[in-house]
Symmetry: C2
């Protein structure tokens, strides 16, 4: 369970909200969203709470409250979701400082930092190429062939 499934949770929730919105249901409760994910409503609130901080969704309290998208699904990229969740670097440098008396230990960190940044940028470019609308369309398309 090491790898992050948080992006999956968030994208699924947004796609589900996008579909409901298209059907006229603009507001959804965390419980309804959790039902689609087969998980706990608190998980949904936590995830969507981060997306709200990034401005992708809004929530209203009180009776008849819930969550809504703030934009068209076609205007939300998976990259934005990823960053809203506090994207962590793919790779980390040494846990502690390496031996600086060694030529490699002294100079390798900036080099690896650059390599890792390039890999990170590549992931971002890839995620930026998909929107919530794309994901939803492909999800529904895969079910039209019985």
């Amino acid at each position: 369970m090491a790898a992050n499934s948080r992006l999956t949770t968030a994208v699924h929730a947004l796609a589900w909200m996008a579909l409901a919105s298209r059907r006229g249901r603009e507001v959804m409760t965390s419980e309804e969203i959790a039902a689609s994910l087969a998980t706990n409503p608190v998980i949904v609130r936590r995830s969507l709470g981060e997306l709200r901080a990034a401005g992708l969704v809004v929530s209203r309290r009180g009776a008849g409250a819930g969550w809504s998208l703030t934009r068209e699904p076609a205007a939300i990229t998976v990259l934005e979701v990823h960053e809203a969740l506090g994207a962590e670097p793919l790779f980390a440098l040494h846990p502690g400082t390496p031996n600086l008396e060694c030529p490699v230990g002294q100079g390798i960190r900036p080099v690896l930092t650059e390599v890792y940044a390039a890999a990170d940028a590549a992931v971002r470019r890839e995620l930026a190429g998909h929107t919530i609308a794309d994901v939803l369309a492909q999800t529904l398309a895969s079910q039209e062939t019985p």
Copy 2:
């Protein structure tokens, strides 16, 4: 401490072995390598053990034993190191199965699998563009300007 520093450890070790090899020291003990990383020899043996399984290094036991590269540093890409360490997927799908009665829950998994695979491929392309020799050269170059 969430992110993987294993790639850093392994690349650092290989670069250090490459430098030593260039200086005539073909065999290094895990203790010498650990000294450059400022960590425990067992950490090094664990990392290099995975690289040995991938054929990137060899080890010899007994007195005067240690580790050696099996190829020129210019022929080892960072991608190979990454894969030798058992590269895990960047993102995971749902921890459990989502609700299959929901159209999104039913169809989203293959869609996300594709998106994640594309991101993975992008990282691999990036890492394939750097070799141990590159990393070592850049590491040493950064120290020539006092």
